[in-house]
């Protein structure tokens, strides 16, 4: 599997591409941008937009003699391992989620806070970070947003401060590991970044960005939660929170224990994938199979929960990127970036960080990452002398943190704002969110740029193994 991945990645990066005429590049880039605008505006479903854009570009490519149709399979070959990871983790997370493991853990931890506002706030931020790093954003957000709503209802707290805190901290959790977010999986796979390298680079900054987020959230919501509570208040809250029994949610303890063990082993498997000589997709699919075998009750249901929408979205997206890449447009952009920065990493990293963060706060971070991956490959390839590693990590971190910039920037914010409106009747305006998330994003992205440059200057960014 690893050999296949290596071959595919190498074949794509080493593909000689002759630049097409300027009008072809502009035409293809325009269609790509139009697709992204369609994704951003949600006029059509994002998967439909991506597949439509792909179909149009394939037809145009063949009509203009850009490539023969079988080339499309090469574009998609690269995605096979990504699809494996998405399918495997999707099944695993569904089966483990159904065991009640994460619901159990969250109630158990929340009970330990005694219901006190300051402890609850801090705990939810940290738990969100941990859950997202293991579960990815969507399942973690579904669990935690419902937890916050139930807890706030029970303890009489306003849900907005805690729910938005969860949403914003989720984006820090998303950069923690290889499997904690789709952009990480895409970038990690394309660049062949080992799982352990994520623990060395992105995890430390994930923790730093979490602290930045907590500080920003605590300041912003300084008047919205009863931070100072009397002994009587605390006793009443304790009584209320003790009314929650985590075991009452667990249908079968054996399934719970098995699910926890399988999940743990899968995470260890991700870390060991490279030394074992297998791909992340293999580990994810083995974990999913084990979950279905040992802990799954509804096999059909679990397989049905795989996010086929995302997989089809990816297919469309990768075909679009492949077509545009064939025109030489992305290579041209890379050349302009290199020229603009004069091959200086101290300019390239801020440029890449700011662009990917701002773009991700407006458009889904998946197309942003997908578009920037070949550009980074072009910038760092050949004789430019620009090291690829700092750029990859900038992309990983800033694509995820960009989601904090706007209310539509990341799925965590979308879920939180939607849940607030529907379950608590609270409307979060763009202005309010920009003051909160936008400011936090600026600090986090600026910090990320400084962090990457500092790590690089110290020689602490691990080299990505080649071949």
């Amino acid at each position: 599997m690893a050999g296949l991945m290596t071959f595919l990645a190498a074949s794509l990066t080493e593909m000689p591409i002759d630049s097409s005429p300027a009008w072809v590049m502009i035409l293809f880039a325009t269609i790509m941008m139009a697709t992204y605008v369609g994704v951003a505006l949600e006029r059509y479903h994002k998967t439909v937009a991506a597949l439509t854009g792909a179909a149009v570009l394939v037809v145009l490519s063949i009509a203009l003699g850009l490539f023969e149709y079988p080339k499309v399979y090469e574009f998609l070959k690269e995605d096979l391992n990504i699809f494996g990871v998405i399918i495997g983790t999707g099944i695993l997370v569904d089966v483990v989620g159904k065991s009640g493991l994460f619901h159990f853990i969250s109630i158990w931890i929340v009970r330990a806070t005694g219901g006190q506002a300051n402890r609850l706030f801090l705990t939810l931020c940290v738990v969100t970070f941990l859950f997202v790093s293991v579960l990815t954003i969507v399942p973690a957000m579904l669990i935690l947003s419902s937890l916050v709503l139930v807890i706030c209802r029970s303890l009489g707290y306003k849900p907005m401060p805690l729910l938005l805190s969860v949403a914003i901290c989720a984006n820090s959790g998303a950069i923690a590991t290889f499997a904690s977010g789709l952009p990480n999986i895409m970038i990690g796979t394309a660049a062949q970044i080992p799982y352990v390298a994520f623990l060395q680079v992105s995890l430390p900054y994930a923790a730093v960005s979490l602290i930045v987020a907590i500080a920003g959230l605590r300041f912003f919501f300084r008047n919205d939660l009863p931070w100072a509570q009397s002994a009587n208040d605390r006793a009443t809250l304790k009584q209320q929170i003790d009314g929650f029994d985590p075991w009452a949610m667990v249908e079968d303890r054996r399934v719970l224990y098995r699910s926890a063990a399988i999940l743990l082993l899968t995470v260890v498997g991700f870390a060991m994938a490279q030394p074992l000589g297998v791909g992340m997709d293999f580990i994810a699919l083995v974990g999913a199979t084990a979950a279905l075998f040992f802990a799954g009750k509804g096999v059909e249901d679990a397989i049905g929960k795989v996010n086929w929408t995302v997989i089809l979205f990816f297919m469309g997206l990768f075909v679009i990127i492949g077509c545009v890449k064939q025109t030489g447009a992305l290579k041209w952009v890379a050349e302009q970036v290199v020229a603009l920065s004069d091959n200086q990493l101290s300019l390239l990293v801020p440029l890449m960080g700011a662009f990917s963060a701002v773009a991700s706060s407006i458009v889904d971070n998946i197309p942003v990452a997908a578009t920037l991956i070949p550009i980074v490959q072009d910038i760092s390839g050949g004789d430019t002398g620009v090291p690829a590693e700092p750029l990859w990590w900038t992309l990983v971190i800033c694509c995820n943190l960009g989601g904090n910039g706007t209310p539509i920037g990341s799925i965590s914010c979308v879920i939180a704002i939607y849940a607030l409106k529907r379950e608590a009747g609270v409307h979060v305006s763009w202005g309010t969110f920009l003051q909160l998330g936008g400011l936090i994003m600026v600090f986090q992205v600026a910090g990320a740029i400084a962090f990457i440059l500092w790590m690089h200057s110290q020689g602490w960014i691990p080299a990505i193994p080649t071949g």
Partner: protein
């Protein structure tokens, strides 16, 4: 940017799960244990298991046992006394007149027993009729017996082992479900696994769904929805059982089984367990559910009756 479709249902599901954990101020149940039991013998091979069960009650709960040979015709007049001699704190009693079920009911009334242990099918080995019949004696006891009935079934289903996994089966609303749960905890062994199984069999589910579909075609009833309704309607019992298990250091879990298939054949369940079922004798639906489960169970079954008319 991301889309927000389909989150409603998932957030709702998750919230309901968290609400399930909010058992609030539910009061733990007081486990019920028998101090006097009537042990019914039928002269079949099942008597060994019945005597072993009586011995277990004596050892675990210091129970006083009265042994009754309920056969209408017996060639061994001292059969009950001999069996009682095997269990300390026990004695044989004379058989009241009448048919077997009349003798049992009369003995219960006369001696003020807390529980009766009865082999089923009465007078026959389990294997002879299998899951096809519980026999007349059991039919009558289900309708008239005022005390809980512990039914011994297949000989390999030893009570001492079975009490380590106790399943309380509820098939419909029932006034005595709390009492059944209290008995379940009373009989459960140390560190036992106790579950509350909320069962709506598939045929029943399909019937309900057909009715609701006709009434509200735009709101189809799913198994998931029915599961949540089952949980909501049994939240108090669930909370009480959860607290009781915690206080007794037992394991507890809630098993909603909406749309259970036909039902899962208990004869295929290799794990020895004790089934506990409440019954309202004036509720034909509950009667049918209990009768069916009893007929198909190889495991010992405790039936906790309610609404029994005065004799």
């Amino acid at each position: 940017m991301a889309d927000s479709h389909d989150f409603d249902r998932e957030v709702d599901d998750s919230m309901r799960l968290f609400e399930r954990s909010h058992i609030g101020s539910a009061v733990p149940l007081t486990p019920v244990r028998a101090s006097r039991i009537l042990v019914v013998l039928d002269g079949s091979g099942q008597d060994d298991a019945t005597v072993a069960t009586a011995q277990a009650f004596r050892d675990e709960f210091n129970t006083e046992s009265l042994f009754l040979d309920a056969r209408e015709q017996s060639s061994e007049p001292d059969y009950a006394k001999k069996a009682a001699a095997k269990v300390s704190g026990s004695r044989g009693i004379d058989r009241p007149d009448g048919e077997a079920f009349e003798a049992i009911l009369a003995a219960l009334d006369c001696h003020r027993m807390d529980l009766v242990i009865v082999p089923c099918p009465f007078g026959r080995a389990f294997e002879t009729v299998g899951e096809d019949s519980v026999g007349t004696v059991m039919d009558v006891l289900l309708a008239r017996c005022r005390v809980p009935i512990l039914v011994t079934r297949r000989a390999d289903q030893v009570f001492l082992t079975a009490r380590q996994r106790v399943s309380v089966l509820i098939g419909s609303e029932c006034d005595v479900e709390n009492r059944a749960a209290a008995w379940a905890f009373g009989l459960a062994g140390p560190g036992a696994e106790v579950s509350l199984n909320l069962v709506v069999e598939n045929e029943h589910f399909e019937n309900i769904r057909a009715i609701l579909d006709a009434m509200r075609p735009d709101e189809p009833l799913s198994q998931a929805k029915l599961t949540e309704v089952l949980i909501q309607t049994h939240q108090t019992l669930h909370g009480a059982m959860s607290k009781t298990a915690e206080s007794l250091s037992m394991r507890y879990h809630l098993l909603p089984q909406a749309g259970a298939i036909a039902p899962p054949n208990p004869l295929n369940d290799p794990e020895i367990q004790l089934l506990v079922m409440p019954i309202e004798v004036d509720d034909r639906f509950t009667q049918g559910f209990v009768h069916d489960r009893l007929r198909r169970s190889p495991h010992p079954v405790l039936i906790v009756p309610g609404h029994v008319p005065a004799s």
